[in-house]
């Protein structure tokens, strides 16, 4: 495991603790984004070998392009998910008038 992989795990763990600790829904969702960034970084750390991932005629050394195409999908799906979550938080806050998770849970009970 190289330094970049360890760092990506660190980003992931920061995100996980953020999701658990934060009481504000928006901050929780931002931390979910951090978790996703950790995962994306891990993929890059695994595939990057000092070269571009684009296959070009005449150049024999390149990073694994397959992983990078996966990443595009992951980022797009993550973006869609996060947008949808933010919309739902917006609907909730317009009806319950709070972003605090404890209050939301109490009022919904």
């Amino acid at each position: 495991m190289n330094l970049y992989q360890i760092l990506s795990f660190l980003v992931f763990i920061i995100g996980v603790f953020g999701v658990i600790n934060q009481k504000d829904m928006i901050l929780k969702l931002l931390n979910l984004g951090t978790i996703q960034s950790g995962v994306v970084l891990l993929f890059i750390a695994i595939s990057y070998n000092g070269h571009s991932p684009i296959i070009t005629p005449g150049i024999e050394s390149y990073s694994d392009p397959l992983i990078h195409s996966f990443l595009l999908t992951v980022i797009v799906i993550g973006f869609a998910n996060l947008s949808l979550m933010l919309v739902f938080v917006m609907i909730l806050s317009s009806k319950i008038k709070t972003y605090q998770i404890d209050e939301i849970e109490k009022k919904i009970k």
Binding site: F12, G38, L84, M85, F88, L92, I96
Partner: protein, 476 residues
């Protein structure tokens, strides 16, 4: 070339066509279901990789006996759900529902870790929208909770496939079965699949989503979506070592027992059934561990039984605002509905002659599962005791139910099979049921909730850390 991948494309295409042909939605959707069903039925078993590349590099789709059977039954459940609940829904709801169907078919046919991830995301996103379609506060909250936990689970899944790919260079599921598993791959994969499976402790979202979702959606959710994690575990089970299997066995036993215990503290009808689904997921794990070859039958049995229970609950309870057991007590239910409930819930108990009993026979934990029947008996009586029927049918009921059991005992006597074991199980079930009847007015079990948002995340984190430690120590 095999055509088994076409149903996925048909559903996705119909979803787009529906946007333009909404006036003819009934014909379009029925044609979609019928053509998809027939194509799947006549398709030969086989597999292929898109673009004819090696399966190491491409996306492999496969049709075998197991996924064909599951998908055929899924078509039936999905079509019934559509007919009963969604026929008059809006354009966008139906479009999302068709996408959900297509993604589910793709999930079961796919043999590529990344394609499975994409299918899971598509299924989850469709469900988020369907669950909260009516935009009521509880629905939106349930969907949001589902989204966050699903997001956490799928990120863990991504980490596991990143670790796998860096070690083996392929994401093909079948190819990877032969490789030694890299460190932490199993930790992240098993955790993510268990969270998606709706297993007790890790999947608190199940209770909210099933309780508050749009009527009809919970049947698909409980019937198919919650067992997708189990399907994945079923596929990769041959690559698990003894330590992992032992760990899953202990986890399944503990969650089975605790979920039935937790169920006693619930009063909301849909919550009770949601928790019973969690306990059935533990049964599913035990089936995979002890008798992998019959898992597909467990899957179908549970899909049909639980799917129909939720269809009945949504159709006759939720739409009539019967939410809690107290509400149920005050209403008179039609006798045919009562009988259907009786048969379906009995089918979940695992006592003879339920289908679960036949499946359970393959699990080598007979004594423990009989003890669980005590708790199941309480669950059974808790529901049935609160369903009231018209006076004129009570007399018929007093003949039909004992008559049914008499037929069972006569059948048992002549078959001469494991009578002692069967009676042992039935005694536990009856004792459980009677103890509920006896103690229901004496002990007031207040509703408890151990699945607050933060608690659930802590359980997941604790679980992941625990398996990581086990894996580091070489125990799994």
């Amino acid at each position: 070339m095999n055509i088994f991948f076409l149903p996925t494309l048909i559903f996705f295409s119909s979803s787009i066509l529906l946007y333009f042909l909404y006036k003819h939605k009934s014909i379009l959707i029925k044609t979609t279901y019928i053509s998809g069903f027939i194509i799947l039925l006549i398709s030969d078993y086989g597999s292929f990789v898109f673009n004819n590349v090696s399966r190491n590099l491409g996306i492999q789709l496969s049709l075998d006996y197991n996924n064909k059977l599951i998908l055929l039954f899924f078509f039936i459940l999905s079509f019934i759900t559509y007919t009963l609940f969604f026929r008059k829904k809006e354009k966008y709801f139906l479009m999302i529902f068709l996408i959900l169907n297509g993604a589910i078919i793709n999930f079961f046919q796919s043999r590529d870790y990344f394609n499975i991830y994409v299918s899971l995301e598509l299924i989850s996103m469709s469900l988020f929208l369907l669950v909260a379609y009516e935009k009521k506060v509880k629905m939106v909250w349930a969907s949001l909770k589902y989204m966050i936990f699903s997001s956490v689970a799928l990120n863990l899944y991504l980490i596991s496939i990143a670790i796998l790919y860096s070690n083996t260079g392929t994401l093909n599921l079948i190819e990877n079965l032969a490789f030694d598993k890299p460190l932490f791959f199993q930790t992240f994969l098993v955790s993510s699949l268990l969270i998606k499976s709706g297993v007790f402790f890790l999947s608190g979202w199940v209770i909210d989503v099933q309780s508050y979702s749009t009527p009809g959606v919970s049947a698909i959710l409980t019937g198919v979506v919650e067992k997708m994690g189990l399907w994945m575990l079923f596929l990769i089970f041959p690559s698990f070592n003894k330590g992992t299997i032992d760990f899953l066995l202990i986890f399944a036993i503990v969650t089975l027992f605790l979920s039935y215990t937790y169920l006693l503290f619930q009063n909301n009808i849909k919550k009770i059934f949601a928790i019973s689904t969690m306990s059935q997921v533990s049964y599913g794990l035990l089936v995979i561990i002890f008798s992998r070859e019959i898992f597909v039958y467990f899957f179908i049995y549970h899909m049909i039984t639980k799917g129909f229970i939720f269809i009945l609950v949504d159709k006759f309870f939720t739409e009539k605002r019967i939410i809690t057991l107290e509400d149920l007590k005050r209403k008179i239910i039609r006798y045919d509905i009562y009988l259907m409930f009786f048969i379906l819930i009995f089918n979940l108990t695992g006592a003879y002659p339920s289908i679960l009993y036949i499946i359970k026979k393959n699990i080598e934990l007979g004594f423990f599962l009989n003890i669980v029947l005590l708790l199941v008996g309480i669950f059974f009586e808790k529901i049935m005791d609160n369903i009231h029927i018209e006076e004129k049918y009570k007399k018929i009921n007093h003949i039909i139910i004992p008559g049914l059991f008499l037929i069972i005992f006569i059948n048992l006597y002549f078959q001469n099979i494991e009578i002692r074991e069967i009676l042992f199980g039935l005694v536990f079930l009856v004792v459980g049921a009677l103890s509920y009847k006896f103690f229901k007015n004496k002990i007031n079990l207040k509703e408890i909730n151990i699945f607050s948002f933060t608690n659930n995340l802590i359980y997941i984190l604790g679980f992941v850390l625990m398996i990581m430690i086990f894996e580091l120590k070489g125990m799994i």
